[in-house]
Each structure stands twice: as structure tokens, then as C-alpha cells.
Amino acid sequence: MKDDGHKGSRTRGKWENRTLRPVTEKSGERDVDYSTVSSLPIDRLYTPEDLGPDWDFHEKVGFPGEYPFTRGVYPTMYRGRLWTMRQFAGFGSAAQTNQRFKYLLGQGQTGLSVAFDLPTLMGRDSDDHMARGEVGREGVAIDSLADMEVLFDGIPLDQVSTSMTINAPAAVIFCMYLAVAEKQGVPLEKLNGTLQNDILKEYIAQKEWIYPPKPSIRIITDLIGFCTRSVPKWNTISISGYHIREAGSTAVQELAFTIADGIGYVQAGIEAGLPVDAFAPRLSFFWNSHNDFFEEIAKMRASRRMWARIMRERFGAGDPRSWMCRFHTQTAGYSLTAQQPYNNVVRVTTQALAAVLGGTQSLHTNSLDETLALPSEDAVTIALRTQQILAEESGVTNTIDPLAGSYFVEALTDRMEREAMEYIDRIDELGGIVPAIENGFPQKEIADAAYRYQQQLEDASKVVVGVNKHRMEEKSRPDTLKIGHEVEEQQLQRLQQLKSSRDQEAVKRCLAALADGAGGEENLLPLMLAAVREYATVGEVSAALVPVFGRYREVSII
């Protein structure tokens, strides 16, 4: 017999027959099915055959900083500049959060990210009847410019970039930020930062809304128009998959519904009369990084290629900056466990590594205690150090897009793009993302995926260490941050004092002018800015528009 044992199999089929089958017949594998956390099936092995005969390096991958940007949006990536380490923070009063900001900046954090409390996110003041018990709990309580002045006290706004996670009342809070800059003497064109301002994913997933979609999108296009003229460095929308994923979507759904939201905003901007290249470069994205390492990397790589193609081919954008999917990433809050909470540090590390290998522009790493409470200072320090260790010790920043060319990663990237585009086609058939939302289509897809995943956790076909496998008796829990009742009482007092000391007539006049403007076609931003300068509250400004715009009511789907 001819000895060709030293020669490898020339095809996958030969390898399967010659080398694999004798082993699987004898001992089998651990599982019958292998799949990602999102239940995307994963093959045993990937080879050039998985990419297909027409797979073209230049079309699919190419070079960083060049279309279609699969490898990254910048030519030098982390060799030029590390990602921005941006920990989302906010709790209690503006003064407490201001202290946390200064602490984080002192520890080497390079950007701020504000978490607002629920009443603020819903456009309600701390003295609103629905706000009872919620003031300062999930974020910082902001009622008026007076609180915003305290929040950024001693932080020069021309020297930091600030991300604000706010949506339904985003324009109002943004005007307060502009008013603080004015008071600091910082010209608006020097301001750097991001407003989440993504109302579509609120209807889909995060569920903090005020008005129905149409008037909400009008406020957004007004804000985009205003920034294009007056705050040119500001990122006007952070189109967010994060919350869609946290609500239980798969990775493909997160990618698809978020890009579909992006298409919705670009379409709305064009319909509002803005040239696409005037505003598209200031749109950015926000991804979730979950446990499944390669799935996340593939998702992020696919997102860049998809957005580039959509902007260039679908919308005819000509400015390369319009094609770039720049994004922030946050590690997956839902993946953290209350059981054996220190294990969360390890989860966050792999998720953060995926975000870095996926080419993120900024990153929030969750704190180990986030399933128990808002993060303590100790926990948030470990989370920030995790990023610093990846950046400065691991060596993964030395070369750009190191996983490119991996048969597996490229095949998975192609597959995620293909499956996400199928969803986008279905949404187009429904008439676009707004009608799709009104039909409950993305909501239903997400609810189904969330329920399936819960069943997989319960039958342990998906493993979560410490929850459905490797459980143990727990001795103690980490110390967590407590928000005292006094926060709410003090905030109510501050608000009362403000209302009795401001120029009441001026506030009324501004709110009436705003409501008038809403009835017409005037840009609402200057009117809002005038109102917040007079210390009109977020609740008052939001409520002034309700008679014109109405309130959104959700059709609940279970």
C-alpha cells in the first residue's frame, strides 16, 4: 500500500472520510448541535470552501479606512489612537454624579457618559406623580438647567467629549447642555459628544417614549438640522442595537433592526430637505457585546460593510465619512449573573475583547455588581481597569483587524450580513421601519427570541456558569451602592426653590412660543433653547408639546 499519510487531505470531503469519521464513529463529539448564544449553527471546521469560489478579498474585506470598511473605519485604528474608555455613570443628585465624573476622569477615563434617571428619560419632572420612588435611582435626576450646571461644574466642556443616553426628551437635555457651554464661554462649534436620540429603538425595545413616531422624528430632524449649522462636531444620533439585544434579540436581529432604524433616520433627514452628506457623517452606532466571542466580532465587522453599502448604494452618499459605521460598544448587562458575581469580571473581559477585535470606537465595560444595583466605585474601577489591561497589556492593539482572513470569521461575517439583509428586505416590504414598528414586527421577533433563550437556559442547552451549571452555596455578596430616600426629597426641594425663583412670565412665554412652533414647520431647537435658558424644566418643555404632538400608546405583545 502506498504511504501517503504525510500528505494532507486535499478537500474537506476527503478529510471527513479519511481522518474525521473514524474518530466520530468511535467516540463522537460532546454535543450533536453546536450553535452561538443566538442559536446560529456553527460548523465543526471552516475552510476556503465555506467562502465560496467568488469570494473576493477586495470586495469583502479590503483595507482599513477604505470602503467597505470591514476592517475598521480608520487607517491606523488602535495604533493611531486607542478607543475612548467611556463608563456610563449617573445616580442620585447632579452633585453626586459630578463627583463620580471627576473620579473617573482622575482614573484615566477619557470621555463622559451620562445616565439619567427614569423620570428624566420619560420627560417628567421629579415632582410628577409617576416619578414617586424613581428619582435618582437608575441615573441622575435632572429637572432643569440648574441641575445641569451642577452636573458639569468644574468640567470644561471644550476639553471632554460627553455622551448622553437620552431619547424621548433628548432635544431638551441637549439644549441644557448647550446652555451650560454658553455659561462656561465655550463656543458651540467646539463641543464634542454624542446624543443617543434614537427614538425608534425605544418603541422596539427600551420603551421610554413621549410622542408618537412621526412628531418624534420631526424633533430629531430639527436637531440634526440645528447641529449641522451650529454644533458641527456633535454626533446627533447613536443608533442603538444595545437595548434591542438586552430585550432578548439575537445578534442578527440586533444588527438588522438597528441598521433598519438607521435607514429610517437617513430617509427622514432626506425627506426633511437635508443633503445626505450634510448629516450622515454625524450618525453613529451603538452595539451590544454579548458572550459569544466570534458572533460579536462578526456582527461588528458586518455592520461596517452593510452601512457602507447602504449609504453609498441605497442613498447615494458621496462623502466617505457618510459611509462609515463608527460605533460605541457596551458589554451585555443581561449576561451578568447575580450568582457568584465576581465571575462577571471574566465575562466582561471576553466581551470587551470581542468589541476591541470588532473595531469599536469607544467602550463601556459593565461592573461586576450590575445585576445587584448601580455600580459601586470599587466595581467600576475594576471595569475600567479591564479596558486598560486589554489596551496596554494584551497586545491586541498592535495590528488592525487581526481576525480578517480567518475562514470562520469571514464566513460568519458574510452570514450575519446576509441574514440581517433578509430582515431589512422584510421591513422594506412592510413599508419601512415605522410601519413595521406599528405592526409590532420587530417587537414580536424579539419577544419570541427572548422566550426561546429563556427556555434554553431552563433546559440547560445554553449554559450560564453559576446559574444552571457549576452552582454553589454563596457566602457573601459584594457591597453595593445605596441611593437614600433623601435624594428624592432634596431634589423635590431644589425643584420647588427653582420654580419660585425664576422668571415665571418668561417661562410661560417661551413654552407658548414652543407650542406655536410645533404647530408649524419652524425648527424647534432654538425655541427649546430659549425655554431652558429661562429654567423651564424638562417636564414643562415636554408637556408643552403634548397638545400638538399627542402621546404614544403601545400595543402590548406577549
Binding site: 424613581e134 435611582r137 447575580a338 450568582q339 444595583a373 406577549i558
Partner: protein
């Protein structure tokens, strides 16, 4: 009414909290377990939840709270049920509730609190053992 009738459960989101993943999963799991389920939808005030509970003749109210406002909202719902003479409607729930808050909530009348990692099976078994049809 027969003691063997199906349990009627209200799954409620109270306050401004928009996290409805857990509420929807538990509502679906209750339905699949054979209970009758009414889901309130989001952004309900305690008054609205209690009014729905009474109107729908439910046997228990199951609240999902991830906003940190549990120490205010659970006792408020119980107080309002009492005021309406409906204290026989049991109240239980789940969410991000620190362990040290649970005994206070139970003292205020909350029957049980399920925290992250609890399985729908565990909740359903608990309901079968602890919630009985009210005498209407």
C-alpha cells in the same frame, strides 16, 4: 365559583420602568402553564394596576420592577388593594431587588420576590403551591 377553576394572574409593570423582557417572559410562561394571564403593559401607576386587578377579578398580582423603586411601589400597591377591600389578592414579584430589601418587602405583605436567575419553572411551582383561587 369552583375551587378548581384556572388561576387568574395579573402581570404588571408599575412605574416608569421600561424593562419588560422579564414581564413578557413570565406572562408567556404563566399562559403556557395553563393560568389565565392579564398583562398590564408598561408605565402603569399603582392606582391603575390595582384598578385592573379588581376589575379583572384576579387571584394575584405579579409585579416586575427593575428600576430600584421596589421599596415604594410594592407597598403602595398593597396599601391601595387594602383600601379597596381587596387584600385577598396576593402580591408577589421579581426584578433587581437587593437581598437586604426582601425581608422589608415581605413584612409589608409581598408574598415572594424572585431575583435574577430564577427559572420560570420555579415561579410556576411556587404559584401552584401558594396562590389559591379567591372566593368571588
Amino acid at each position: 365559583m369552583s375551587e378548581n377553576r384556572k388561576l387568574r394572574l395579573l402581570v404588571g409593570k408599575v412605574g416608569l420602568d421600561g424593562h419588560d423582557r422579564g414581564a413578557k417572559i413570565i406572562a408567556r410562561a404563566f399562559r403556557d402553564a395553563g393560568f389565565e394571564v392579564i398583562y398590564t403593559g408598561l408605565h402603569q401607576s399603582p392606582e391603575m394596576v390595582v384598578a385592573t386587578a379588581i376589575q379583572e377579578d384576579v387571584d394575584a398580582v405579579s409585579l416586575s420592577i427593575l428600576s430600584g423603586a421596589h421599596n415604594f411601589l410594592f407597598p403602595k400597591v398593597i396599601e391601595l388593594l387594602r383600601e379597596q377591600g381587596a387584600e385577598d389578592i396576593a402580591v408577589f414579584g421579581g426584578g433587581i431587588v437587593p437581598e437586604e430589601d426582601i425581608s422589608g418587602l415581605k413584612a409589608a405583605g409581598v408574598l415572594e420576590i424572585f431575583t435574577p436567575g430564577a427559572t420560570t419553572d420555579a415561579v410556576i411551582n411556587w404559584v401552584r403551591q401558594n396562590i389559591k383561587p379567591r372566593n368571588l
